[in-house]
Amino acid sequence: MEGFYSAAQASWEAMPYILGGLWWTAGLILGAMLVGFVLGVPLAVLHVYGHPLTRKAVAGYVWLFRGVPILVQLYLFYFGIMAYLSEIPALSFLPLSSGFLSAVIVLGLTSAAYQSQIFRGAMASLPAGQLKAARALGMSDAVAIRSIILPQALRLAIPAWSNEYSILLKDSALAFTIGVLEVMARTRSVAATTHQPLPLSILAGALFFFLTWAGIKTLKRLEAKVRIPGYAHQGSL
């Protein structure tokens, strides 16, 4: 009993340390969401409107990143590619040995694959007449996609996007394997000294739950904010 008491005390004292992991976790998710968005949108556009060969290439990308487990990618990237690149003197100014950077890139590239499919589905669900009308006005396809197609498709994609957010949140916990001091990594390291993983795991779970809740809430608010007047509530996918 004494042991439990002191472990609980140690856990309690470790709280600020574990809470500090929130920043890293949040950074991982936001970074990966952003990388995934910035790459996912053009990938989706190429997938829907591109040359047949480009479409194949995008499909291949999606297939690859969906197929290889994140853990394997993290190892390949961190211990393989990044370790190799960091030997090149000309690149020494880059933080290549940062696990955080590797994790954001891996999670971002994977998320790009998933996000591209979300946006592709949203674009494909728009009536064909939208693009036709834009072209009939003399818009180039690039302008039509930017001004007419994407603003509508991105709105439609928000519910699926918040789903992607919560998946990414869970995947981000894998970053501890390459030394990122996010919530999970800190939880484990404290548990290793207190030998009482239970209260710590509950705490970690609560933190992830909180992040999920906050993110989804924010996206719901965004969805309401950009809703097109006159349209009934679309609901989630």
């Binding site: 009536p127 007449g129 939208q130 036709k132 009308a133 834009a134 072209r135 009939a136 006005l137 003399g138 818009m139 180039s140 302008v143 001004s147 007419i148 603003p151 509508q152 709105r155 097109i228 007047p229 006159g230 349209y231």
Partner: protein, 262 residues
């Protein structure tokens, strides 16, 4: 009758999936004239209109605007052509995420490069012309079908098109909303807008059209002045098609409505 030819369509052939949808179609439209395409559903009217602005590029044949043949291979020429050819669709195709004002304004800014204030002024002018100045802030989902179609007319007119293509502009409308759109079309005809319109509104268009083109299976099989084709004893395909339509509609007449031009 010596108005210049604005649009010339020559020997257009279009095949889709091995099927010949347009088979050597030719006609031309003079400035300020209205040509009306009539014919059964599936005749190729929509495809013909889409060939004119290359939304559906013809396999062969020539489209000339203002005496200049359009090179369908040149992206630049295509975009320029589409700027000068307005199009009205059966189901409006308003941009759902934009207000009525922005629907009219977006191409003025993104295509014509007008600054925002000039685009706004022009867009409001066009909305006023179709009687919707007070609806400019509403979104498509907040407008009736007739209002949507009028916004789409304003959107096309704002680009100063040399010719306007209308693909059954009233076919998707509830009967009580057809009138407001027809009124707008009549006003355009009166103002001298050059137009090609596919429609089943035969007696309405008879009073405005310079020529009827009757299409069937991808060909223009009959053409002539409405009064001539619709004469009861003409024995024309147009006459019998029109008689069939009005029988179905139960309005019991198929003649030229007296033209109430002001």
């Amino acid at each position: 009758m010596d108005d210049p030819v604005i649009l010339r369509v020559e020997n257009i052939v279009k095949t889709i999936g091995g099927q010949r949808i347009l088979d050597d179609v030719s006609f031309s439209v003079k400035k300020g004239h209205l040509k009306v395409l009539i014919g059964p559903s599936g005749a190729g009217k929509s495809t013909l209109l889409a060939c004119i602005n290359f939304l559906s590029p013809p396999d062969s044949g020539t489209i000339s605007l203002d005496g200049k043949a359009v090179d369908g291979k040149s992206r630049k020429e295509l975009l320029a052509l589409r700027q000068q050819v307005g199009m009205i669709f059966q189901d409006f195709n308003l941009f759902d995420h934009l207000s009525a004002l922005d629907n009219v304004r977006v191409a003025l800014v993104k295509v014509k490069g007008l600054d925002k204030r000039a685009a706004t002024n022009r867009a409001m002018e066009e909305l006023a012309r179709v009687g919707l100045a007070d609806k400019s802030t509403l979104y498509p989902a907040q407008l009736s079908g007739g209002q949507k179609q009028r916004v789409s007319v304003a959107r096309a007119l704002a680009m100063d098109p040399k010719v306007l293509l209308l693909d059954e502009p009233t076919s998707a409308l509830d009967p009580e909303l057809i009138g407001e759109v027809l009124t707008v079309i009549r006003d355009l005809a009166d103002l001298g807008m050059t137009m090609v319109m596919a429609t089943h509104q035969i007696s309405f268009s008879a009073s405005l059209a310079d020529e009827f083109l009757f299409m069937e299976r991808g060909r223009i099989v009959e053409r002539g002045a409405p009064s001539q084709l619709l004469a009861r004893d003409s024995g024309s395909r147009t006459q019998s098609f029109c008689a069939k339509l009005s029988e179905l509609a139960g309005d019991g007449h198929c003649e030229i409505a007296p033209a109430p031009r002001a």
